[in-house]
């Protein structure tokens, strides 16, 4: 294995230094509880991952469509999303390293139109930047590009993969189908990890997952407040939280910090936008993760805040019933189908995708919507016509542009800023002034 400790690979060192540097920056800021908590989580994840390597504990890879609770039902196992390094690199490290991973995958023959995060995951595997897994547990969601990446990573590592088939719809029949597959995946995990699945442990993991969900539900409600109490850049980080920390105390701590910060700021009458917000927009599809300061720019220059986006929205209907093994599996399946951001909106018919958007615009009193079309999201871009029609029918102005969520070379930040500025000036402002 190439990695024996965090200090031995430059890419990880950059991430680790980035996390620590940002934590120093934010620790002194009493208004950054949420950001502090997630940075602490990122740091801990890195330490846990390499701690597992150093201790010889098994690592199980999964994809972002697969919530990791089932893996955490086995003691001593470290779960690792295959997208983790480039995500951390974009958020807290140096995006140049992500771009190098993307280039690595393309140079190895992976088509450029595959999603950049999937290419970067393949690049990470090609460069042996990840601790070797004993197995991979995946869901075939949220998109085809993920599946292509999973197949490619499996091919590169030649490690056993267990895929769970996530069906098209979201009903109870679908929940039972996915839950049955989860049950059947347990012997697979046991075989490759060499340990028995611990139902009591799994129950504790699910309870923790529920605690996180409840804080997120409250936080989702608090973000509706006008003015929006918290900065925009924090919203999409919920997906990172759920993918990496579901079922862990760390996840609950982050969600609680998000909630507490929002609550306290509302109590103090504080707005995310210094001087007061003028515009509110629901950001849909994918966030700009290679430059979180972009959100600061929106707030300071345009007085525009994003109270909610697709990555931050956590559907409130799903808590895991922990009364029996079967109910836990069905609860986890329901979470995967109906609550996990992206999986909920991206995989099925267009209706969930559009309906969530219209509801968010209403709930969060958005002046307009921003469809930030990540170039590799063919399902989103394939539905853009219907999406536009629905937005028009609902009377919500919609800005659409294409960019890459992980790679700033596709559309530079200045272009995105210009798109949004012009739309606000030419469409939103006159509309708002006209009442």
């Amino acid at each position: 294995m190439a990695i024996l400790g965090k200090e031995r690979q430059e890419d990880w060192e950059v991430v680790y230094e980035g996390v620590n540097g940002l934590m120093e920056l934010y620790t002194e800021d009493p208004d950054s509880k949420g950001m502090n908590a997630i940075l602490k989580g990122f740091g801990k994840f890195t330490e846990d991952l390499f701690g597992a390597v150093d201790a010889g504990r098994p690592v199980v890879w999964h994809n972002c469509g697969c919530s990791p609770e089932l893996i955490k039902g086995l003691e001593g196992v470290q779960s690792m999303p295959i997208e983790v390094l480039p995500v951390l690199q974009d958020l807290v490290g140096d995006v140049n390293y992500t771009m190098a991973l993307i280039d690595e995958a393309e140079a190895h023959g992976l088509a450029p139109e595959v999603c950049s995060i999937d290419k970067a995951a393949v690049g990470s595997a090609l460069k042996n930047l990840y601790p070797a897994p004993v197995a991979m547990l995946c869901h075939n969601t949220p998109c085809d590009s993920q599946i292509a990446a999973i197949k490619t990573v499996a091919e590169l590592t030649r490690k056993p993969v267990r895929m769970m088939d996530v069906p098209y719809l979201y009903g109870d029949r679908e929940v039972r189908y996915l839950a049955a597959q989860m049950r059947e995946a347990i012997p697979f995990l046991e075989e490759h990890i060499g340990k028995r699945f611990d139902w009591d442990r799994f129950k504790a993991v699910c309870e923790e997952s529920n605690r996180t969900a409840e804080y997120l539900r409250d936080w989702n409600e608090l973000r509706r407040h006008m003015p929006c109490p918290q900065v925009s850049k924090i919203v999409a980080l919920v997906t990172a939280l759920l993918v990496a920390f579901s079922g862990e105390a760390e996840g609950t701590a982050i969600a609680r910090a998000f909630r507490d910060e929002a609550k306290e700021r509302i109590e103090r009458g504080e707005s995310a936008v210094e001087g007061g917000e003028t515009y509110r927009a629901v950001w849909y599809q994918d966030p700009v993760w290679w430059d979180l300061q972009f959100y600061d720019w929106m707030e300071s220059e345009l007085k525009l805040v994003i109270p909610m986006d697709l990555f931050g929205y956590y559907s409130p209907e799903t808590l895991i019933d922990t009364s029996t093994p079967e109910s836990m599996l069905e609860g986890l399946a329901a979470k995967s189908l109906r609550a996990m951001p992206m999986s909920r909106q991206f995989k099925g018919p267009i209706d969930n995708f559009v309906d969530d958007y219209i509801r968010l615009c209403d709930d969060y009193q958005a002046d307009f919507g921003i469809f930030a079309g990540h170039v590799a999201c063919k399902h989103g871009l394939g539905g853009i016509g219907l999406f536009r029609e629905a937005s028009r029918e609902a009377g919500i102005p919609l800005l659409y542009f294409e960019f890459d969520m992980f790679d700033p070379r596709v559309t530079p930040v200045e272009s995105i800023q210009a798109e949004i500025s012009h739309f606000v000036d030419d469409v939103v402002k006159p509309r708002k002034e006209a009442g």
Binding site: H108, G109, L110, A111, E113, V114, C115, N140, C143, D144, S145, I147, A148, A149, I150, K151, T152, A154, E155, V161, R162, M163, D165, P167, Y168, L169, E174, Y177, Q181, E184, K347, P349, I350, G373, V375, A376, K378, H379, L381, G382, G383, I384, G385, L386, E402
Partner: protein, 377 residues
Amino acid sequence: MVKDHVLNEMRTAIGQPRNTYLDEWVNSGGKIMGYYCSYIPEEIFTAAGLMPYRLRGAGSEDSSDGDAYMSARVCTFVRHTVSLALRGELDFLDGVVLAQNCDHIRRAGDLFRKKVRPSFYGFLSIPRIPKERVYGWYLEELKRLKAEIEAHYSVQITDQKMEEAIALHNNTRQRIQELYDLRKRDAPPLTGEEALTITVAGHVMPRERFNSLMDGLLLELKDARVSEGYRARVILAGGVMDDPRYLKGIEDQGALSVAEMVCFGQRSFGKVIESGPGDPLERIARHCFFNVPCARMVECFDEQVSELLNTMNEYRADGVIFQRMKFCDPWAGDGHNLYWRLKEARVPFLSLEREYQVAASGQVRTRVQAFLEQMGK
């Protein structure tokens, strides 16, 4: 020459959305069901008295109607088929059955449902793992579809009708297999372009008429020797390929395609469905679900590679020309993985990406020439 006649008929039949055989079917009161993919069993439609019609973009000169709803990052195959449907050029369809074959077709499904609004719209949630553990779900989906078709068209799809449908489609499969067997010869009696014309035609004509045309053709081909001037024998692999003109551009350089392991090629027909006993729907389901997997499926890449290598061996191919539609993610992953697997196996491999309705360009011809030279041919 029977061959010339049949091929001319079939070339005409696949050049436009409608063809004379289809019109005859419609004029005699027959109904037609459109579908995209071979994981949707044609036998169910046939047993319901419907003619299966595989959706294509043939005859679409531009994709502007589809482009109005889908970004340019959706593959052109889908945008052209959607364009035809939105323009009303597929109005002869009495219904469509779609599935989440890929993200692009999934969104095409939304457009069919919301904008084209055929009188019958069916959708199958097809598992992406060709394993027993999820086969039951697929079978349930087929049962649901069968019931929906029965209710909508007021027909009863009896076991007897299903057996007759199996027999009819098996006849096609046997003929396609015979056709492919002839291509194992040193001097195959037809080119890849011709074979692909035939297999594509099989997807858009009433099956009885197709089988009957095939009988005459096969009789003549058994004694024919044609393709001797080629430089290398290749397998055409990859995703959707229903444009024989593109393949002709490749073959004109001396790369004779001896088998097309593509959608619309032999993979779409597969081996014959075993005769009873047993529930005919279950036998159909097993056949479709466990047929040679395509790139949308997972946990089966070893089987895909084995099938390709076995086919190479069987047809004595010198190399593989892989083609995929630009923006197709499933085949992007498999294209990468196949390249490295075949490199390990020392199999010459050329990867081409293409757009729908675009003939093999000068660049493609140059790459094929270079590929043949690399192979020492």
